[in-house]
């Protein structure tokens, strides 16, 4: 039998995962996967207003190495494990006590 905390956590996980999948799908079908970040768009516009200003990359990026999909997937999984582990520890403590 699942306790209230576990039920809430599971429901939240499913809802968040569903939201991520839905917006990702909307983004994919909305512009055939070509939706660009608004930050780089505005930044590029700003750079175009003057000479000698352009975005550059001073550090090698993980996304260049393994691609955006895997780079962000790995980052998300690692961060998810950290959050999940600490969340469980923090929010079960009072219940167990």
């Amino acid at each position: 039998m699942l306790d209230r905390f576990t039920k809430t956590a599971l429901v939240l996980m499913v809802v968040i995962a569903a939201i991520i999948l839905i917006v990702a799908y909307l983004g994919y079908i909305g512009d055939q996967g070509k939706m660009k970040g608004i930050g780089p768009i505005v930044e590029k516009h700003a750079a175009s207003t003057v000479a000698n200003v352009a975005p550059v990359s001073l550090v090698p990026t993980i996304t260049d190495l393994v691609g955006k999909f895997w780079g962000f997937t790995i980052a998300g999984i690692v961060a998810g494990f950290i959050v999940g582990y600490l969340w469980t520890g923090l929010f079960r403590r009072q219940e167990d006590a």
């Binding site: 983004g27 970040g37 608004i38 975005p55 550059v56 001073l58 959050v83």
Partner: protein, 221 residues
């Protein structure tokens, strides 16, 4: 709001770094104090750091504008762990995000100012203000998320205008704001929803974890 390397003039990079370092120093001092006073504070900080990293790098498509952007997460973090420690968390998250092609190293100070300082502090102040006038907790937290998100992007627009267009700051600030807002406003609404939900959940479950104990005076429920 992640400004890349090569966009801002060196003198502006230094100005933003100078401002950020002051807040980071106070944040580090508060983290040291907080960890001594509350055993749950360090894991909470680590969790919020991971949350801020993911939220502020998570590009969400906004079909109405044809582009995507991300929430910032720092208003929520400021309510939960305090605004100064949130600047430290924001700086760490932004440093690692530079290796994911989001932001840069020379612009780290500018990005810390917009996301960590303006986003975190404005959200926290809105939260305190609304709680002072007896607003429901979820509404105060949600408004903190919404306003912190919008002000963060207004700051980024100002940073771009100040550095790139010093001769016409106001007009270019307006232009950059108009560029950001159609995508960012729907995401600010999303920021409202998850900030309200998570802060209310924590207040119901572990009210002792909220920043009120460490930074006094904020009624939590």
């Amino acid at each position: 709001m992640h400004i890349s390397d090569g966009i801002l003039a060196p003198e502006w990079c230094l100005v933003w770094f100078a401002i950020a370092i002051v807040f980071i120093a106070v944040g580090v001092w508060q983290i040291k104090r907080g960890t001594k006073e509350n055993a749950s504070y360090l894991p909470l900080l680590a969790m919020m750091g991971a949350v801020v990293f993911v939220i502020s790098v998570w590009h969400i498509p906004v079909p109405v504008s044809g582009s995507c952007s991300h929430p910032i997460g720092t208003p929520m973090s400021a309510i939960i762990v305090g605004p100064f420690p949130t600047v430290v968390l924001g700086a760490i998250a932004l440093f690692f995000q530079a290796f994911f092609g989001h932001g840069g190293l020379t612009t780290l100070g500018a990005n810390v100012v917009s996301m960590g300082i303006v986003g975190g502090f404005s959200g926290y102040l809105i939260f305190v203000l609304l709680r002072t006038v007896n607003s429901p907790l979820w509404l105060a937290a949600g408004m903190a998320g919404f306003i912190g998100d919008v002000l963060c992007y207004l700051t980024t627009a100002l940073q771009l205008a100040l550095s790139v267009n010093p001769g016409s700051v106001l007009s270019h600030w307006a232009i950059y704001m108009v560029g950001y807002m159609p995508t960012q406003l729907p995401l600010a609404v999303a920021e409202f929803v998850f900030t309200a939900g998570i802060v209310q959940y924590i207040a119901d479950r572990r009210p002792d974890l909220l920043a009120k104990k460490l930074w006094g005076g904020v009624p939590s429920a």
